[in-house]
Symmetry: C2
Amino acid sequence: MASLCAQKCIPSIYGRFGHVRSAVRAASSLVAGEPKGPTVKTQIPGPRSKELLQELNQIQQAGSIQLFADYDRSIGNYLADVDGNVMLDVYTQISSMPLGYNHPHLLQMLTENPHNIKTIVNRPALGVFPGADWNSKLKNVLLGIAPAGLDQITTMACGSCSNENAYKAIFMAYRQKQRKGDFTPEEISSCMINQAPGSPDLSILSFHGAFHGRTMGVLSTTHSKAIHKLDVPAFDWPIAPFPIYRYPLEDNKAENAAEDKRCLAAVEQLFEDYAKKGRPVAGIVVEPIQAEGGDNEGSPEFFQGLQKVARKNGASLLIDEVQTGGGPTGKMWCHEHFNLDGPPDVVTFSKKMLIGGFYHTAELKPPQAYRIFNTWMGDPGKLVLLEGVLEVIKRDNLLEQVKRSGDRLLLGLKQLQNEYPALISRARGRGTFLAVTCSSTKLRDDLVGRLKTKGIQSGGCGEDSIRLRPALVFQEHHAEIFLDRLRQVLSETK
Amino acid sequence: MASLCAQKCIPSIYGRFGHVRSAVRAASSLVAGEPKGPTVKTQIPGPRSKELLQELNQIQQAGSIQLFADYDRSIGNYLADVDGNVMLDVYTQISSMPLGYNHPHLLQMLTENPHNIKTIVNRPALGVFPGADWNSKLKNVLLGIAPAGLDQITTMACGSCSNENAYKAIFMAYRQKQRKGDFTPEEISSCMINQAPGSPDLSILSFHGAFHGRTMGVLSTTHSKAIHKLDVPAFDWPIAPFPIYRYPLEDNKAENAAEDKRCLAAVEQLFEDYAKKGRPVAGIVVEPIQAEGGDNEGSPEFFQGLQKVARKNGASLLIDEVQTGGGPTGKMWCHEHFNLDGPPDVVTFSKKMLIGGFYHTAELKPPQAYRIFNTWMGDPGKLVLLEGVLEVIKRDNLLEQVKRSGDRLLLGLKQLQNEYPALISRARGRGTFLAVTCSSTKLRDDLVGRLKTKGIQSGGCGEDSIRLRPALVFQEHHAEIFLDRLRQVLSETK
């Protein structure tokens, strides 16, 4: 048990929280107490999960549930379930657990600092009565990792809310540029009945395959799966093609550059078309990697081109980093890989950031109060946890760890696609934000299911891809376990 | 200090959290440690709040901020600020603090139960991997207080999200009734480009003066203030008049009944108009008391009539209890005052419930998974706190307390409007969810401002009303302090 001594805080945390410790664990784990590998005792979902699922189905639509977890016994990269199974988790709650489960530092933030507990109990209306330390938290935590050039910050509760409010800020800025002086009486009266000019006919341009959330504004810019959208009214807003590349990228440069051009030309055309339609484009929203839509990458040149088109047309560029932000690509923000000519106008975040919100330029700050506003405007309790996460990222050099683990994973995926070219292809991504395409949806679902029986919790995306979304504490030895189990299920595929 | 012995848990909590205790406090306070009254040391906002406000304005639009609070020193009904002022809070973070500040029972939930801390640190994707105790929490906490007849529960993070997703469930149920069998290929392909029939042209009927949130779907049903809506595109959905009554209600029965009829007839007409327009009404959304819009009440007969109109037209009735729910009207749900013929189809909540979500009928449960879904689907950490809140509501009979305090407040407001008929009128509401109308917007703003200088934190609503939104632990002696200070500012009005 010598390894437990490596982090001095562990014994007391364990003493107070009574973790079930694995007697044998990987010597080099960044999170003390991790087992050395997965343990599978039952089918997954196991009998207890199935019982609970049946019960839950009586009171809600529970068809999306995969298993019931035992969070008290989960640790680091390992997710425990109610049937005694312990899985290596490369999906981490749809990419929303930056340090995995029960990280000692986060538990410590809440058990050893009464102020943090009070911050959770006294959730304020941040837009009216922020707490004494709110400014310093915004500055030290959120602005400390802001994308270069973006010095304004608005907090929200979740990803959908962040995008919704960012769109609103974009519409407001767009109209503000056209306005001379105050709102007109016509604007004030017409907006109250949802009519122009107060409720103007403006649009946000999005991409096929995009996912920006599920509330009704952002859902109009989501185009990843029909089941997300069926039966819900939507705004008639422009939708452009997103590049579809040939892989490996290094062998298809000319063709992929032509694909970028095609998509950028379509974006320009849509600006024209929607201006003619009387529904001008106020902003472009785009993911640095389309995640839900299938881990579709865009090249740096594509994003540079988009920024030019946006600027030329007086529109804002919103980069949606809800899934890519917070480190999994090896940089804090994925768009930092793109060498843009200055910052995008807005960057939204949530998930691994634990709190939602958006960074933006001063131009996108509404000149009047109460326009971007709601009761809570985020949650200081989540910022307490994010502060702890950033401390660990720094202390343990986790962005470097992500690069190392990502390199190992990507190399392994490429080896496997060479071994099994009829089954998987297109290994791609940045950092540990990686995916492979399977030869069919059926095979993808089958592989994800069989990986579970080998103790790996993974997830799908798009029609036929498997995505990797491990925590930032995912290390090379975890990558070896994952690749080994993936090789097993591939070799057992008939 | 004998009073501290009344609650056995207090000494240890104080020992660990180091509250600054007031040596003198009201003997009968439900929250130990409350001061006996407000203390005002500076103008409000004071110099430190002003400094912090200036700083915050550099990084965000902070124009809505009233003061910076010291939440570590706030207690029960008393809000402390960074300048040493301590105010009796009858606004409680826009009505979102059910037990006021630092309630010992809530602090205890987090300091004495490691499982609860782990629940906060391991926030799951509830729609995929709920924790072992999630079912029992839903059943014991949320369904334990469900409106009669509603046995389905969907959790969300905030009020806007709850309404957005409830609208989506309404649209889905409406289309489901029209559908024979599966989605058609046309529906599946058209929804991906935001077009009918997959993205159908359906609407939600709302009321003038309503507030249902600020994301783009629900914002199309919000009509309380222009500043909430300006420059944001909106759906062209029907908007009906909400009753405007003559007060006192008991002296104007016939006239108010006629007002109900007029509004209900307008609702019926809008159903016809929008059906003809090709944009049928799938649901009606309504607040039991229009809060942001000015604390406008509807009679039980009005709501009974709405339910009939909805049923007759095959539309759902959504009662938005985001502000009214959780006890402030003296019942857990305000619509329980209305003697409806069976439950409404959906009831949404947030604020005092700490977690967002909606109760609904089985008919509004989508037959397919992933349709009402997002990453987090609420937050079990908030349900931990709500469980504590409900325990205290039961233990301390807080709904009875609300009735007693509300009776005292309403009586006092009526006395004051008789004394100052040129200044305030229309004292109204249920429980402690009360308001008075001022003779002008200017007077209202002035009274709210001067109440602060007397140590009362209140809030406005609508054009010219002051609203009371105290915590459920607001008692008769707090009411006396509030009424006394209100009498002072009225008497000093020139």
